[in-house]
Symmetry: C2
Subunit: 314 residues, 2 copies
């Protein structure tokens, strides 16, 4: 549905605002698993997560269309909020970020550091959405959706573009699923360039709205309960769900213990700070049953309270 | 005292066993300080610290001389032990590692994972040294000194070689000091190539045997008391002390709180796991008073119990 050219166009548009993250390997992990494992470290991305790609795509698309943007508002459990706050700072406009009252302190601190205003509501994503839309109407700020938007989706898809441009025969790419924006973008981009690369979605078993919805054949609400705070989504997006149905090859569910083990392994062996939501793809990659393959795990982010690491891994 | 060629020779000899670590920058840290800050991330080095360079240099030098090496033994608070264990594994010989009873669990686990045998003694470096030499005599294993050895020093000096080969007008390089092996190697290498680059040694204020010794003009014993477990050295080395006197431009002392802040900053903003001993150079770089300079902090390692991060930073 998206053309190859549309990803090149977005990539060029957002290039001034993002890092092109370089794949990282660990011999130890290769030996452990019998596969060649690569990590796409979006934890090393600007603002500490992939979300800057989508936010940059949306804001630059609107400015390209000549729209006057006097402020930005969004609802976000944190990483998307940081990305929107960062983009507002870059373009010297105001930002209001609606976050749940259980968001990690590191994410709140970072949003404030970018100069955005924070509005706190309850833990449900529906509460955040309602508040953000209310602010958007009252203040005339532009609402930037966290995932259910084609500009945002194409922005996240630039990760797929960077992967297909690697000089590497990739067999499978593992991608965390929250609302589905990241995997919609990556899978539609990868399939446009190279349908032979398998795209595998990964959800915590205790928060798998996409898996539940795919099985039912329709978007279904769940009650998320996972340490992966960025993946506590109640229901897949309206736009992302059909893209996942069309382009994603398979889904893998991971246990909370597997998420913790993957986090600890990456931190101990690769010296990289990753957040639980970013570790789910590594967890799935580590239990891949096929051998001798080139596997990539997209590590979506690295924003977490470092003081809470031992608490999370307990 | 060492020629340029001698560093090239060592670098070529150890290249198969090490990573050439790439400098890392953080815009946030640059903005915070008004300098261009670079981190030489030896935490991403094989075995998680720079120590592999010296160990590889020593072992390969002996093999080049045609010496039969039936086993390796060393005394180490951890990182050097890991490096020796790793080299023994590479060459398929035995290793015995003498460590203090307060060494971090992550380091002990890693040494065991490389298949070496661990011998535990008290916390003083003199106890470890005596035990290692005893084993060396009884078993006929080759003793690999942690720092007081010209092959080891030249091995660590390859970091200096990589730095002078960077296309970058470096003003100052900050280097942690324990026994002085790392800074002896780096400073003698850098001064051989480019005497204009200033080499600054960094010690915890609560464990500054080099600073104390330099002031007295002779090697002096101290009682170390710092969270930087790799820098708890009682006295500078016999070989390293005169090299530091000759080649190091200045010394900076850092408080325990400054070490913790530097660790937290690198983990939060750069998503890199570094150990307290590796953070002292960053702490010194962060409080540099000159502005508009290109500064490099050698982050010596990243081996620590991730479960103890919040305890260390408290």
């Amino acid at each position: 549905m998206f053309t190859k050219d549309s990803f090149y166009e977005v990539k060029e548009r957002i290039n001034p605002y993002i890092h092109e993250t370089k794949l990282i390997q660990s011999k130890t992990l290769n030996q452990l698993t019998g596969n060649q494992l690569f990590i796409k470290p979006e934890c090393l991305q600007k603002t500490g997560s992939f979300k800057i790609r989508g936010a940059a795509s949306k804001v630059t698309a609107l400015r390209q269309q000549g729209k006057e943007v006097k402020g930005l508002v969004t609802a976000s459990s944190g990483n998307h909020g940081q990305a929107v706050a960062y983009m507002a700072k870059i373009f010297n406009i105001k930002a209001m970020i609606v976050i749940p009252n259980n968001a990690p302190l590191a994410k709140i601190k970072a949003i404030k550091a970018y100069g955005a205003e924070i509005v706190t509501v309850g833990p449900k994503s529906s509460e955040r959405l309602a508040k953000a839309q209310e602010i958007s109407q009252e203040m005339g700020y532009l609402y930037i959706p966290p995932y259910d938007d084609y500009d945002v989706i194409r922005g996240q898809g630039t990760i797929g573009l960077e992967l297909v441009k690697e000089n590497l025969a990739i067999d499978k790419v593992f991608v965390p699923i929250g609302g589905g924006g990241l995997i919609s973008g990556i899978s539609s981009c990868i399939k446009a360039f190279n349908p032979g690369i398998k795209v595998i979605g990964v959800e915590p078993k205790q928060s798998c709205c996409m898996n539940t919805s795919l099985k039912k054949g329709e978007r279904t609400e769940i009650t998320p309960n996972t340490i992966a705070d960025g993946l506590r989504t109640v229901m897949p997006g309206e736009l992302t769900f059909p893209l996942v149905q069309e382009y994603v090859d398979d889904l893998v569910l991971v246990e909370e213990e597997e998420i913790k083990e993957a986090m600890a392994l990456v931190m101990e062996r690769m010296k990289l700070i990753i957040e639980p939501s970013g570790a789910v793809s590594v967890a799935a990659m580590l239990k891949e049953e096929e051998k001798g393959k080139n596997l990539v795990a997209v590590v979506s982010g690295g924003n977490l309270d470092i003081m809470s690491i031992s608490e999370i891994l307990k």
